[in-house]
């Protein structure tokens, strides 16, 4: 059952006039105002969607400013970024803001996604919200990779080399595809140019897809930590002022973290090698991506043997692709009728293990391609796939869940009593 929120009522002649012609204030009212009813029991994990949106906004604003000075050419790219930092007014702020912002965007996204897994946010009726989310995640990864390449430092260059090299695993035409993507045999002037065009465009695609994400969400309304759908008017509050106020606190804390990093530790997430200009003749001892790709990089490197006629490298690419795509399968992998991890004690254990596993994978992805990290990465990848593709489908058949209260109100009352 959907609760009916108070409809928008224009208060004066102008807003009435405008509402008849272009109902933007009504849109605001329905999406962010008193017209959107939100469960009142959301915890702070429900603020990370908005934080991801804030991070996206920071990226677009700082990105536009950077693009006004950046020179997309293999000879000038690196120097133009240094020049921005030195000779453009507050250029260092713009550049470091964009750099740190990318990391915090992913941090917010990861927390947002893990929230979704733990509380079963992906389940009916919000599968489409989830699917669009996974699409956003993939778009964000593509954008981040392209942007990192634009710096044209050593790591940029060799990351571009490695990632585009993955295309060459496609049988027969792989090498052709790789050359087509790069516009040459190795990353070159044409590559910088096309990566810049794509990196400039994708964030606006992301912005549009975020619109779809929120639209789909509002069709059903937000879920909540109990996983029980709200039924009564007492269980919800209007977005304005309750969640607007709460979001503002979250944004404040987020900006505090963001600014502490930008002003005091701007290079904390980057590899020192990327302050060396790209040099096609010298391969860095240890090529690694930015931290938010480490778990997936570890999965890629975990496939070390040719198997069933498929070469190890192709297995690696398939495995890495699948490790992203499985997120999109979640609504169909887990068909437990109980939504929230709060009432699924066995699931909760496997979930905690899964979080630890992702950290371990990330750690392995960071290390050089040596033992014991490769083997450790193989075990960690194994649990990663097992969690999604084996444990989640089987769990509902064997798990004894806790009794789910009949309403959100009752559930929250039990929690405060306990």
């Amino acid at each position: 059952m959907k609760l009916s929120p108070p409809p928008y009522q224009p208060k004066n002649a102008f807003t009435r006039w405008l509402d008849d012609r272009l109902p933007v204030i009504r849109l605001w009212h329905d999406v962010m105002g008193k017209g959107y009813l939100v469960p009142r029991n959301l915890n702070w994990l429900w603020n990370f969607g908005v934080l991801a949106g804030i991070a996206l906004t920071i990226q677009i604003i700082t990105g536009l400013a950077l693009a006004m000075h950046y020179v997309a050419s293999s000879n000038e790219a690196f120097n133009s970024i240094e020049a921005i930092m030195r000779y453009v007014g507050f250029g260092w702020l713009i550049r470091y803001g964009h750099m740190v912002g990318a990391s915090l965007f992913f941090a917010a996204l990861y927390i947002h996604m893990f929230r979704g897994v733990y509380y079963g946010s992906y389940k009916a009726p919000r599968e489409v919200v989830w699917l669009i989310g996974v699409l956003l995640f993939m778009l964000a990864m593509a954008t981040a990779f392209l942007g990192y390449s634009l710096v044209w430092g050593q790591m940029s260059y060799w990351a571009a080399q490695v990632i585009t090299g993955l295309f060459s695993v496609v049988p027969f035409v792989g090498e052709k595809i790789r050359i087509w993507v790069l516009g040459g045999f190795a990353p070159n002037a044409a590559t910088v140019n096309r990566f810049f065009v794509l990196h400039f465009t994708l964030p606006f695609v992301i912005l549009a897809v975020v619109g779809l994400h929120v639209w789909a969400l509002h069709r059903q309304g937000s879920g909540n930590p109990t996983g029980i759908e709200v039924k009564k008017a007492e269980e919800v509050v209007p977005m304005q002022p309750y969640y607007i106020a709460k979001d503002l606190v979250a944004i404040g804390v987020f900006l505090l973290i963001f600014c502490s990093l930008v002003f005091f530790y701007p290079n904390i997430f980057t590899d020192p090698d990327n302050y060396i200009p790209a040099n096609p003749f010298s391969t860095p001892a240890h090529i690694k991506p930015e931290w938010y790709f480490w778990p997936f990089y570890a999965v890629l490197r975990s496939f070390t043997v040719n198997f069933m006629g498929i070469p190890a490298k192709l297995w690696g690419v398939l495995g890495m692709g699948l490790s992203v795509l499985v997120w999109g399968l979640l609504p169909w992998l887990d068909n437990s009728p109980v939504r929230s991890g709060r009432y699924r004690p066995v699931f909760r254990c496997f979930f905690l293990l899964f979080m630890a596993d992702i950290l371990l994978l990330g750690f392995c992805g960071k290390q050089p391609a040596e033992e014991p990290w490769i083997r450790l990465g193989q075990w960690a990848s194994l649990y990663y796939f097992a969690f999604f593709l084996v444990i989640l489908p089987i769990l509902p058949l064997v798990e004894k869940t806790k009794a789910v209260p009949s309403s959100v109100e009752e559930a929250e009352k039990k929690r405060t009593d306990a």
């Binding site: 106020a245 606190v249 505090l256 003749f281 001892a285 190890a312």
Partner: protein, 279 residues
């Protein structure tokens, strides 16, 4: 069995099989024997960095302009015969206290000439660098190194190496004679002809000879005694500045921004609390 299939459902069964296949491939890989890994013997002789304190350290640190000038003196007299600092322009030296006249003196004597065209005759010529030309080294090539190993540019070096300024300082003061043990136990580690033993450099052998050789190798105009350690510290401080000239400014503004955000966030907490309390 059929019952189980029915209970799991077709889609989940397909996913389950795919998942088991993935796990099997990974297991197969995990139990493959590994090629024996050679532990790089050089790692045993690599030394942890010396600690270095610079006036610009910490959130409220400041660049010591006198020291930066001394550092540039060392850079100009010693390092510049091989290295450049090409993210800097000559005019940037004004920021560390050089006057216009001094900068003109420096650029006119600089080791590099800039390829240009004579505006009257159209002939190619090599001219003195202008104030807004990059401070390049003798091996500068705007098209990159093209595969030739040359002395790296130093303007970003403290950001481009793990350990930053401490690394540069350790390296400059870290030359030693090769331990006898190496020749006996690891003949393959013997320092090659034309290289030098330095346990702070990755791989132990560096092509750069000892740069800071002796006391008073440079003349400090402010009367500071130019010991090798002092010169190393000063030039490192200069390079830290050249990599992050905005550092002081960034920290100062940052403290203001954080203070503002603390207040603003505090207000939003109060606001949020008062709104929710009414429920």
């Amino acid at each position: 069995m059929l019952n189980l299939v029915r209970r799991i459902g077709f889609i989940r069964l397909v996913c389950l099989l795919a998942g088991l296949a993935m796990c099997f491939v990974l297991l197969w890989g995990a139990f493959q024997p590994r090629a024996k890994q050679e532990i790089d013997p050089a790692a045993r002789y690599q030394k942890p960095l010396k600690s270095l304190k610079l006036p610009s350290d910490g959130l409220t640190g400041h660049f010591d302009k006198k020291q930066l000038r001394r550092g540039f003196t060392v850079f100009q007299a010693v390092c510049a015969s091989c290295h450049g600092a090409n993210q800097l322009r000559f005019q940037d030296l004004a920021e560390i206290g050089y006057s216009k006249a001094e900068i003109d003196g420096i650029r006119q004597e600089w080791i590099n000439r800039i390829p240009d065209v004579d505006p009257n005759t159209g002939e190619a010529l090599m001219r003195q660098p202008n104030r807004n030309d990059r401070i390049t080294g003798p091996y500068y090539n705007p098209l990159g190194s093209q595969g030739i190993v040359t002395a790296p540019d130093l303007s970003l070096i403290t950001k481009a190496r793990k350990g930053g300024a401490a690394y540069v300082y350790s390296l400059l003061t870290g030359y030693e004679s090769e331990p006898k043990e190496i020749a006996e136990r690891y003949p393959q580690l013997k320092t090659p002809e034309g290289n030098f033993y330095n346990p702070y450099f990755k791989g132990l052998h560096i092509a750069m000879p000892v740069a800071l050789l002796s006391e008073n190798q440079v003349n400090y105009e402010d009367g500071t005694k130019a010991s090798t350690d002092q010169m190393a510290k000063d030039v490192t401080a200069f390079l830290a500045w050249s990599a992050e000239p905005e550092l002081e400014n960034r920290h100062r503004i940052g403290i203001g921004v954080i203070a503002f955000l603390l207040v603003a966030t505090g207000l939003s907490v109060v606001c949020c609390y008062r709104i929710w309390r009414k429920l």
